[in-house]
């Protein structure tokens, strides 16, 4: 609807309003999600694991969340907030945690279980100078399956989408 309305308006005005309107709508629609966030997960659970663990899982560790081989990062793409003044599921000061996220299913090598990980971007500031750039691609899907796409800037519903870094919050067991 938003768009149809906009098409009626003059170009300049359209541009001035576009961002605000579409963000508003996004926010409205996101309301539920935001509230319900603690009780996520929404989202795709991978099919039963194959007998053999994935190459990422076979090499994953559970001790150092500032390294790309940390078990939760099987599908992360971006700068680790753990290197930027944040933590595994904590955004650095001055940034905003996105209410939306893409999702990965990572195996914790300590218990061999699969967990859902919500990769929430921290937004609203210039990118972190972190050297910790990782690009996990396990079950990472293209834009037509956005819930698994780590190329998307996941800052929907925030006042700005300037990307700063990415977190990996545990949201549930996958089995």
């Amino acid at each position: 609807m938003t768009r149809l309305t906009l098409d009626g308006l003059g170009e300049r005005l359209t541009r001035r309003l576009a961002g605000r309107l579409s963000r508003r709508s996004a926010l409205a629609r996101l309301g539920a999600t935001v509230v319900a966030a603690p009780l996520l997960p929404v989202l795709p659970v991978a099919r039963a694991e194959a007998a053999l663990p994935s190459s990422f899982t076979r090499n994953a560790q559970t001790k150092d969340p500032t390294k790309c081989d940390y078990w939760r990062y099987c599908a992360i793409d971006g700068l680790l907030c753990t290197c930027c003044g944040g933590a595994v599921h904590t955004c650095p000061p001055g940034t905003q945690a996105s209410p939306t996220s893409w999702v990965g299913t990572c195996v914790n090598p300590d218990d061999g279980k699969s967990y859902l990980i919500a990769y929430r971007d921290c937004c609203g500031a210039t990118p972190c100078h972190s050297k910790c750039h990782c690009d996990g691609t396990e079950r990472e899907t293209p834009l037509y399956r956005p819930q698994g796409d780590n190329d998307v800037i996941w800052c929907f519903g925030l006042t700005t989408m300037a990307y700063h870094c990415s977190t990996a919050a545990l949201v549930g067991l996958a089995e």
Binding site: T2, R3, L6, D7, E11, R12, T14, R15, R16, A18, G19, R20, L21, S22, R23, S25, A26, R29, P44, R47, E49, A50, A51, L52, P53, S54, S55, F56, G124, A125, T126, P127, D135, T137, E138, R139, E140, T141, P142, L143, Y144, R145, P146, D149, D151, V152, I153, C155, F156, T159, T160, M161, A162
Partner: protein, 382 residues
């Protein structure tokens, strides 16, 4: 007394009257005038290096390797060229205060020779993604541009490039990207593995095919190469299955075939632990449209390594389903592009940011450019 005049002007500007007076005037000789370069008309070997995060696309002459110009762009912009690259289009999202303020989505239009900004076409929204896929594409005539938008809902903004205005936004629920065909049609890929066929006239129509790939376990690359003039498209899955489809009002699906089989190897599977040669990278493949030759970056790895850099470049005959050449790469490559002329060039970007320019027939290296910087190679020829 021009010298006095200009001295005074500068003095005022800099508030340095005192200092300026004290200076010994220089002997006037014919000074050089500063001017601004323009690009020559684009030849077939013009290349773009697109850097998603820093923004900007470098314009490089494939015949010399020289950087000829820079197309300005905000972070996470998408770039496209019109016919003969007479016009250059940048789809971008800019906030009035840089990292905050009012969001402004637009397609900025530049003259292809002067790179002077001609106009900005405001658009309601666009997908803000670090994607090299079909998020911004022109039809083969260069009269329409399609901008994929996912905020708040999945849709494609249709732009008339003659009128410089948005015609409409077509909702594409559950489907994304835009592979243009004909004058005003495009196809999109859907989360259930089907294809959406969209006509963008007064009454846009969206029809969905049956699923033709497993979008969850073995997705097709969003960078799958397409020919906007014919609709001929090769959707390549992470595991290397090639789905040839003739896009159009009624898309024609051909049986899929395997890149590995085309090289005399076992087709690759999707189970953990299964090592095979697989396509991968940030710009993993490029199609030479006239010859139907596909150039694919391949690496040895398990499934879900679709962004891993290529260790070999495979030259594939898409008609004969045959791999004609396997070129081992000294340094792993993140992207490949190919020019569209008869004496085509292949462009390879490695992980260190070095560009290799090769003859597309022989794959011999013609020249290499060191330290071009992050970014993927793109041949902007429509």
């Amino acid at each position: 007394m021009p010298r006095i005049t200009s001295q005074a002007a500068i003095a005022v500007l800099l508030g340095l009257a005192a200092a300026a007076q004290a200076q010994t005037p220089a002997t006037p000789v014919m000074p050089e005038v500063s001017d601004v370069a323009t690009l020559p008309p684009a030849g077939p070997h013009r290349l773009w290096i697109e850097d998603a995060f820093s923004g900007a696309a470098q314009v490089i002459d494939g015949d010399t390797g020289a950087l000829k110009a820079t197309i300005p762009g905000a972070s996470l912009s998408s770039y496209a060229a019109g016919p003969d690259q007479r016009m250059v289009y940048v789809a971008e999202s800019i906030w009035t205060l840089g990292n905050r303020g009012q969001r402004q989505d637009m397609v900025s239009v530049y003259d292809g020779l002067t790179l002077k900004l001609q106009t900005e076409i405001p658009i309601p929204s666009r997908a803000y993604v670090a994607s090299d896929g079909q998020v911004f594409a022109l039809n083969h005539e260069g009269t329409r541009a399609y901008v994929y938008s996912m905020q708040p809902a999945s849709g494609v903004v249709v732009i008339d490039l003659a009128l410089h205005k948005v015609l409409r936004t077509v909702d594409t629920p559950g489907c994304a990207l835009a592979f243009p065909w004909g004058s005003d049609g495009f196809s999109a890929l859907c989360g259930d593995g089907s294809l959406a066929t969209v006509t963008t006239g007064e009454k846009p129509s969206v029809t969905r095919s049956a699923a033709f790939f497993d979008a969850e376990r073995d997705p097709v690359f969003e960078q799958s190469p397409t020919n906007g003039a014919t609709g001929r498209t090769f959707f390549v899955t992470y595991s290397g299955a090639v789905h040839p489809v003739d896009l159009g009002p009624t898309p024609r699906f051909e049986p899929s075939w395997s890149l590995q089989a085309a090289a005399g190897l076992q087709p690759a599977g999707v189970e953990n632990g299964e090592l095979a040669w697989r396509p991968g990278g940030y710009a993993p493949m490029a199609l030479h449209r006239a010859s139907g030759r596909l150039f694919v970056l391949m690496h040895a790895g398990e499934h879900w390594t679709q962004k891993k850099s290529g260790e070999e470049l495979w030259m594939v005959d898409t008609a004969a389903h045959k791999v004609l050449r396997r070129l081992p790469l000294k340094d792993p490559c993140i992207g490949v592009a190919v020019s569209q002329d008869d004496h085509a060039q292949v462009y390879l970007m490695d992980e260190k940011g070095n560009l290799s320019i090769r003859d597309a027939q022989t794959l011999d290296e013609l020249r290499s450019v060191e330290d071009v910087g992050r970014g993927i190679p793109v041949s902007p020829a429509l």
